[in-house]
Structures are given as structure tokens and as C-alpha cells.
């Protein structure tokens, strides 16, 4: 049991009688000292090399710092350019969309509409009635107005008004006796119909349409068509649909 290397793993190694040799012991301690000093010196050299590297990097740093400063300045300039370009672009987009919106608002009778077109005037007859004549033929009816307006729509009118009442998709021509109701407001003769569109097209349509002006003139109803360079059709007093402003 006590032979070979196993003796070194016995619990009470102090009891083992090993041959004492002071040279071996001092060689052990000397080796340890050698290792310690070697390791320390190597570590010292390593750290000194590291500090040398650091000093070298620090000596080359000022140029780098300047480069970084220049690049940062350029970067800030470019960023401000980006911001201004974005601002410009959004402004352009806003103006474009506002134009678009205004165009459609004026088509939808939310805004007034300006342009070239025709002005049609209608008035009741002043001819004295003879016996047997129907007085209904001598006045302007709601259906006459409706027919004229439909002719105008059919020939490409963009905006129509009757006595400053804008005709929209929900406008009505109601006969309530001696007066006509348009947009729930009373309209009296003389009627002036303003229509914006191609003037010649509109005039041809009204002159040769379903209701011919000559037919009306036969009964003494005063009927004129006038081409005009600039007509202003007012906005509708009511909002036909929900307003699109601010919701786009």
C-alpha cells in the first residue's frame, strides 16, 4: 500500500518519512521564484507595449478629430437641407391638394365658380290676352326652367345658377303658384340663368334643343342668350354633401 506514487495521496502525508534533500527543496522554491519573476516581467512588457500603442494612437488623433468635426459639420448641413426639402415638398403638396380641393369644391357648389359661359334671361309675356287664349302659355313655368337647365347640363355645363340660386344635384324646381321654389327659396321672374361651359356649345344646345327659344318667343315670352367672357356663379347656400375641407 505504501509503495509507489499512491503514498502521496494518503490523508496524513506528514507522517510519511520522505528523504529530506534541501537542494531539491531550494530548487523548487527557486523555480517558483523564476516563474513569478518571468511572468511579472512579461506582463510588464505587455502593458508597456499597450501603452506605447495608446500613445501612438493619441499622437495620430488630432487629424482624426478634425476629420470627424468636418464630417459632422457636413452632416448637419445635409440634414438641414433634408429638412428644408421636406418642408418645400410638403408646401408644394399642400398647395396642389388645395388647388385640387378648391376645384372640386367649386364643382360641388361649395365654392363659387368663375369662367366663360352664357347668360340666359327669361321673362313673362307682356302681350295682352285675347279671348280663348290660355294664360298658362304666357308665363314661365318651372318645367321650362328645368328643361333649359337639363339642356345646359347635357351640353357640358359645369355650373349653373338661376337668380343666384346655385343648381346642385339636390336642387328642385317646384311650382308653388305664381312663384318657383329653388333650393327651398322663392325665385321670381325675370329669371337669369348663368351657365359656365363652352359658350357656343351651350347656345346651340339651348337654341335648338327640346325647348326652342322660338317656341317660347311665339307666346311673347322674352328670351335672350348672351355669351359672356367671365361669369361668376355663386356658391350654394346649403352644403350638398359633407364638407371635404380639412378631412383629406
Amino acid at each position: 500500500m505504501n509503495s509507489g506514487w499512491e503514498k502521496y495521496f494518503l490523508p496524513s502525508y506528514g507522517a510519511i518519512q520522505e528523504v529530506r534533500s534541501p537542494i531539491k527543496e531550494s530548487i523548487f522554491f527557486g523555480g517558483l521564484c523564476f516563474l513569478i519573476s518571468l511572468g511579472l516581467i512579461l506582463n510588464l512588457k505587455q502593458t508597456r507595449a499597450n501603452t506605447d500603442k495608446l500613445i501612438f494612437l493619441l499622437s495620430t488623433q488630432p487629424g482624426l478629430v478634425q476629420k470627424i468635426e468636418i464630417l459632422e459639420a457636413q452632416n448637419s448641413i445635409l440634414q438641414s437641407e433634408i429638412v428644408s426639402e421636406k418642408h418645400k415638398f410638403t408646401k408644394q403638396l399642400e398647395t396642389k391638394t388645395e388647388k385640387f380641393l378648391n376645384n372640386y369644391n367649386s364643382l360641388l357648389a361649395i365654392n363659387k365658380y368663375k369662367g366663360e359661359g352664357v347668360i340666359i334671361t327669361l321673362n313673362d309675356s307682356t302681350k295682352p290676352l285675347t279671348y280663348g287664349e290660355n294664360p298658362n302659355l304666357m308665363i314661365v313655368h318651372n318645367l321650362d326652367l328645368l328643361s333649359i337647365v337639363n339642356e345646359l347640363w347635357g351640353s357640358g355645363a359645369k355650373a349653373i345658377s338661376v337668380n343666384d340660386q346655385r343648381i346642385t344635384a339636390t336642387s328642385e324646381f317646384n311650382c308653388i303658384g305664381p312663384i318657383i321654389l329653388i333650393n327651398k327659396s322663392r325665385v321670381l321672374p325675370p329669371f337669369t340663368i348663368k351657365a359656365i361651359g363652352d359658350p357656343e356649345e351651350l347656345e346651340r344646345a339651348v337654341s335648338n334643343g327640346y325647348i326652342k327659344k322660338y317656341d317660347l318667343e311665339n307666346f311673347g315670352i322674352k328670351f335672350t342668350i348672351q355669351k359672356n367672357e367671365s361669369i361668376e356663379v355663386p356658391a350654394s347656400s346649403k352644403t350638398p354633401f359633407a364638407s371635404f375641407k380639412g378631412n383629406l
Binding site: Y8, F34, I36, S37, K45
Partner: protein
Amino acid sequence: MWIPIIGLLIGLVVGGLLPVSIPIINTQINTILVITATDALFNGFLNKLEGKFSTMLFSIEFLLNTLLAIGIVYFGIIMGIDLFLAITIIFGVRIFHNLSQINQKLFIHR
């Protein structure tokens, strides 16, 4: 008594003259070697004072300590854990414990 001093001087001279700067061996592993050697030195001196010193036993102990410590530190480097500190603390505690024992042996019991 003079062999350790000569070993110390040889180590200083060899370390100074070696053209090796050690990026290959990690600085931490080198430091671990130094710390385990210091621990073995103190432990051996204490046991020599107590009369229980055995060259073979303490050499093997030193080798095993060093191998295990370097292995653990290498593992820590691989895994990204700073196990170097744990090893340093353990051996530092041992060194100071042995130092206090040596102090007692040298100045109180005699």
C-alpha cells in the same frame, strides 16, 4: 537560501531579454500562472516551517492548481465570463491566510 534569489534574478534577466511580447498567451493566463506560483511559494514556506514539506507533493499540487486555474480561465474567456476574477480572489485569500500563518509561526511560537 540563495537558490531562490538566483532563480528570481534569472527570471528577471530572461524575461527582460526574451524578444517575446505575449499576445499569443493571454495576459490573464500569464497572471494566473504568477498567482498560483506565489501561492505555492507561500504554502511551501509555511509547510517547511511546520516541518511537513514534501517537494514531490507540493510540485504536483502546484501543477494541478495551475492547470485547473488556467483551464477555468480559458473556459471563461471562451464563454465570455470573467472567471479570472474568481480565481484571483481564491488564490489571494489563500496567499494572505498562509502569510498570517507564517507570521504566527515566525514571531509568536518562537
